[in-house]
Symmetry: D2
Subunit: 342 residues, 4 copies
């Protein structure tokens, strides 16, 4: 049994993390912070049954916990993580602050200086399917972004084995509204999002591209760097990401062979479901679970393949993956607390 703290418990990822940790057998949530709701119970803020008191960040005692989860906006997270690491507390950071190995790349995409570059070497990109061993020994895990989780898992078996012919992949991604956060604005107003569908930040402008390209290129040992054309769209559902990816293989593979390749690459992975030939991944496969469902559709003899990868953005795309990383960091069964019948 460990004690954990949560920075930023009243956003959607924070709330989801509380929900998951309530049923985790090895974790006691010692404190949870919220600048907006400090002094209240979580059950005052949100229609949930958890009587978890919310405190200001400065009231959150690091010497009472074995680890912290940081569910703070990028920029704000760096400071909290630095404090925790100085106190010797393990960290899973759900922000973008420690995902990019190069602080200049970080600044180029996020428009803020990186104030804790000395911590970057110890940070591990927390995608267990790629970096499981490093995560087991990590003190600071940078939990991946939601879009990148779906995209990297969908493309990894091809890039890691050099099967791609082309140095550009097209990713047409669609995300539910919880991905836009809990802070109200016109974009997330019900009447604006409902019965609507829209692209945003399309092309090569979304910040998540940086980690997709970093991880895919590191996995690929490529001569020419892979470039991701990324078009996110806002979907009128609460949860879920579906990424439709268009790639060109060096040579055509029949569907069964492609499925077999993916299943071999993900053998033993508890949270990756490679669908059989002819099946297509849907949000319904994954919403409410920590799984990533992947389907593969080769288009015939020319080597084009359409890959569909789906996750629940708040679980495998955020808080579930954070708990999975914690399980690895503390040497527990990786699926502990994460198989809830969904």
């Amino acid at each position: 049994m460990i004690a954990a703290g949560i920075y930023g418990a009243t956003g959607y990822t924070g709330l989801e993390l509380v929900r998951l940790l309530q049923v985790h057998p090895n974790v006691d949530v010692r404190w949870a912070t919220s600048e907006s709701y400090a002094g209240q119970q979580l059950s005052d803020v949100f229609p949930c049954p958890y009587d978890l008191p919310l405190v200001h960040m400065e009231e959150a005692a690091l010497d009472t916990v074995d680890m912290v989860f940081a569910c703070l906006p990028h920029g704000a997270s760096m400071e909290a993580v630095t404090g925790a690491r100085r106190a010797g507390v393990k960290v899973v950071d759900l922000s973008a602050d420690f995902r990019l190995t190069d602080p200049d790349t970080y600044t180029a995409w996020y428009n803020v200086p990186h104030t804790a570059p000395d911590l970057l070497p110890e940070a591990v990109y927390g995608l267990p399917e790629l970096h499981r061993e490093k995560i087991r020994h990590a003190t600071l895990v940078a939990n991946p972004g939601c879009y990148p989780t779906s995209v990297i898992l969908g493309l990894y078996p091809l890039v890691a084995t050099g099967l791609l012919a082309d140095s550009t992949v097209i990713v047409d991604a669609k995300s539910g509204v919880s991905g836009a956060g809990r802070k109200p604005n016109l974009k997330t107003h019900f009447v604006e999002a409902n019965e609507n569908f829209l692209p945003y930040n399309i092309g090569h402008t979304h910040r998540h591209i940086a980690e997709m390209e970093q991880e895919l290129n590191a996995a690929g040992n490529r001569t020419e760097p892979l470039r991701v054309i990324f078009s996110p769209h806002l979907l009128p559902v609460n949860r879920g990401i579906l990424s439709t990816m268009y790639v060109q293989l060096a040579e055509a593979l029949p569907a069964e062979q492609l499925v077999a390749h993916y299943r071999q690459m993900y053998e033993g992975e508890p949270f990756v479901q490679v669908l059989g030939a002819g099946r297509l991944a849907t949000l319904r496969h994954v919403v409410g679970s920590n799984r990533c469902a992947i389907s593969l559709t080769p288009l015939g003899s020319d080597g084009r393949v359409i890959i569909v990868a789906c996750i629940d953005n708040l679980i495998k795309g955020a808080s579930g993956q954070a708990a999975q990383n914690m399980n690895l960091m503390f040497g527990w069964e990786e699926t502990t607390g994460l198989v809830n019948g969904q």
Copy 2:
């Protein structure tokens, strides 16, 4: 052809009004105000094709228009209306500021003093089915609230003819999210409202009760005043109000007779649709139109009746009714610009 101005064109009622007036053959929208978006075109603010420049309220010249629509928050509207009336310009006010004949009642419900009580005597409650003749000659029309439109139209044929046995009616009402306005807050956040349903302000606390009771009691010539138990709920749809009303008649009437009574009371009304016995009103009957659909379900021999009344809250519940009132005020065919195939 008249020239009209719109105060507050970038809320949902303002936008809907612009949409309706664009196809109205007799109206030219001369100006539209928006404090938040002044200097932009309407098509910059909203995905619509209307190139209507938005100006600050003080730039809106009253001597260029024959009438104004005020789509402002209550309180703010009083001032704009006062200015317009001083300039001799006709007004349809979509706020609550001139709906209640008694300024003290207004203050009791809205918690602000009424700053233009001298204008109250000239204000006509703009429900054409009850006050058509007065509206024709009005200079200031107080456009009814959305909930009250559905409730008053649903009950009027009973109260006006003394058929109610009881002095209390129960109204269980459900409204789409556009009724909560365009200003983002947690209640209207997509993730909070979608896949959710919730009551709010239930009992005898919602401000719309004041106008319901005022109009029903005025229509009823009752000894004991009618009291409305009113429970609004937030429905995860963009538009529409459905009010389910539970009343007790002095004596039981079969469904056919009740339908006949309502049809006679609303004979010739272009925007009231009384459904036949055995039919039930739904949002689909009215969304996108200026109609109010009403169904009547007597419960047998004890005189209880369930009345369902539906409207589109932005059309018959706001901007459509405002245009209908304008048609009456200028002597045009009442349905002009309002029969759009929905």
Copy 3:
């Protein structure tokens, strides 16, 4: 560890039951039937990860199981239950077939003769909050309907203690579309239900009234039988029931006192959440969980109270309650497998 069979696993209640039992530590699902999909895996029929083979009902061996769940349509269920009871297998029946103690009342509401009236005396109405001890010793549990679960739990603390003044209660209920079953028809077509809201079977015609009145009158020891005016509406959400109930107390009680009374009546109940004074129950309180959330709003000095009770229709309103009943029947902790962090 027991072995269980499921009759009718590919409707929404069957699927939800499979989902819940997959994580139940004491149950092994030995077989699951589906007339439409026999021969396939559950994961072929539905985007879920469960490799559960589906068989025809006649292939389902009763001697391999300790209990069965019947998720069949009313009428069809009687036959399956009869077979199971003859084989000495315990039953939780999710249909309406054994909920009403009087076979003539059953026939009057369901328009089919009751073919197993000899089993009725052994059937226990499976609402643990009312009949926990009987359920512990039951061999045949009639799992309550979804609407009745919300209504009975919402009214029981008043009727059981004689606090109601009136013999009529008004229940304005709203249910998500999964309550209408998985068989496609025009009513459940996405385009018909989405952005719509509608009443159906309003008044005193819905079959669930029979069990509401049976249970409330049995609990109440009343001289004049209680009558439920029941107006169900179809809500454009997947899951959830919210029942808004209007009652008249013999004498007015302040909100705090009413809350205290309900909390005392439901003391120790793991799945009933009585909200504090001033709070209102919403679908978000319960969807995904086995809880019933109840809020109480007295209207002042005249004794009227608005009660709102919410459940997830597929969990507390069906499969979760079925599992709760099984837990009681086998002497396990009542919450086993049902506290999943929601």
Copy 4:
């Protein structure tokens, strides 16, 4: 004033056509057929206020009408169209039966023989922006499919002027559920489609590809035929198609220049809205209207462009375009009855 008949008035395109023609000043709907609902009024079948009697197809007298709209399934339409043309009645066919000029191609995609190949030479593909003059003189107009309308309008300005470098375009398309028709099935069940999102028929298998490729190649005067990789997805909204298209230009063009090119190509088009540089098309731009909104996002110096084209699938993608074609065929103003303030 002309008289028109509608074959198949109770599907979604039929209903939408009735709705549009009710407010068209020059058309009287003389009859409407429905095999399922013959003998009833349209207002019995659907919550609309139109008292239009529904008749069997054999009761529909061709000598009473000047034109017919065929809203029938492919295959069934051929027969009805043949009858109408033999009777000398003009036809707008909303099915796929006369869209493909080559009957063998038709059979290859639709798996049925073409029984009226003699009529194919007289059929004009009814996309006014490409074939306005031919439509004006046509007796038989094949109304385009919904997806093709968005895709062809989005790509036409590039293919017609030889700006594409590549012979393959990727189209990631998303459609609302009304595109799947009104006949209930599991795919269109509310609970299956709501809070879900899914690809279907992806790759090069959807039948609409045939007409996209036919029209784009005819417009392009290309040496190597253009090939469309087409991935449709089902979106949980009632109406609307958004197609995100990925193309490679022979040389990069800045956004402003690209927008200027499109605006020039569509100059004077009443129903094409080319958004300014930096804007992105959304469903909200078009739902409820006959417009197609197009946005253009060049990705920098390598010539890649992301084109987004949106329509309302039931209006510009079906019944609105059918009315637009009728307006051209009868020499009326093209926008008659189609500018309704949306």
